[in-house]
């Protein structure tokens, strides 16, 4: 494994992946996720409840973005050039920074890049950064609602709605 770890340490830095097509956030997927974590908050289920808080659709719980970023992390782990042994990957840490909650109707692109690679003996700590961005002005125009959207000012089309930082531990015995 040590040789693999050494090769990986050289291959990983600067790598970047993106979803092959935009992710369309749907009310049903949010409801499914909210139900799976046992949430009962009305704004995670009802567009009316979300609208009363200034959102144009059902809003997503804080960890929902993992549904999207996990897909891109899987692309990284499945990259044939890297030949990562999935049995030797652990999720070390996770952090989300959100300008606002994701919202049904969002059309997002997701890019994930390898930010840091630290070698610890026979294992690697791989720091990744995933950015979820709204696609195009059309998505912003679609937000028109009677209620003033919350954080409209903060919604610059160029900046990510959510940034997710994940550290993967590669090469160690799982658990």
């Amino acid at each position: 494994m040590a040789a693999d770890v050494k090769a990986l340490a050289e291959l990983l830095p600067g790598r970047s992946y993106r979803l092959p097509q935009p992710y369309e956030v749907s009310a049903e997927k949010i409801r499914e996720f909210a139900a799976a974590i046992g949430e009962t908050e009305p704004a995670f289920y009802s567009a009316q409840a979300a609208a009363r808080r200034g959102f144009r659709g059902v809003i997503a719980p804080p960890t929902f973005p993992i549904v999207i970023t996990f897909k891109v992390l899987q692309q990284l782990l499945a990259d044939p050039e890297l030949a990562v042994d999935l049995r030797r990957v652990m999720h070390g840490d996770q952090r989300f920074v959100a300008v606002r909650p994701l919202c049904a109707g969002d059309v997002l692109e997701c890019t994930t890049s390898v930010e840091t690679v630290r070698r610890l003996g026979d294992s690697l700590m791989v720091g990744t950064r995933s950015e979820l961005r709204e696609i195009g002005a059309a998505a912003l125009e679609a937000q028109t609602l009677d209620v003033e959207p919350r954080d409209a000012g903060a919604l610059d089309a160029g900046s990510p709605v959510v940034t997710a930082h994940a550290t993967l531990l590669i090469g160690i015995q799982t658990i």
Binding site: E32, F33, F44, R52, R53, P62, I66, R95, A98, R150
Partner: protein, 152 residues
């Protein structure tokens, strides 16, 4: 949805929280059925979250909860405390200890405690203490929430 014994306490208003204030423990029960449901909803089908055989081959005592499921429970606690589902601007954890989920009806409890660490004009930082079977399962767990609650 059967959520068995989850006990989510009613909370004081966000604006009323003060520095160093301890937040009431939120207690969640995790069963194998919850892990199956979470696997489907999240897309994380790592077999250590449903197969004892594979979990043991990986050196675990048995099937373990997804770290992200535990993180989601921490977020539920935050949502319960601050009563604003859109308040979380930052949430971070380290996965320090896997939670073994027994193959029975009662499952295992996860207790999320919290304390208000600091308050600014706009935000408030919460330190989270996430424990199962008397052991801390998440490290450096913290949330930053908005104070200007979105209301009707």
């Amino acid at each position: 949805m059967s959520r068995h014994n989850d006990r989510v306490a009613a909370e004081p208003a966000l604006a009323a929280l003060t520095e160093d204030q301890e937040l009431p423990d939120q207690i969640f029960t995790v069963t194998r059925a919850d892990l199956v449901r979470y696997a489907g909803a999240s897309g994380d089908f790592n077999p250590i979250h449903y197969s004892d055989r594979i979990a043991r081959a990986a050196g675990l005592a048995g099937v373990v909860a997804h770290g992200m499921y535990t993180m989601a429970l921490a977020a539920r606690a935050v949502n319960a405390w601050v009563t604003d589902p859109a308040a979380v601007v930052e949430l971070g954890v380290r996965f320090t200890k896997p939670i073994v989920v027994p193959d029975n009806e009662t499952g295992v409890d996860v207790v999320v405690g919290g304390v208000v660490k600091s308050i600014t004009d706009d935000t408030m930082q919460l330190a989270l203490n996430v424990v199962s079977n008397g052991q801390k399962v998440l490290g450096q767990a913290r949330a930053i929430v908005r104070r200007n609650e979105s209301t009707e």
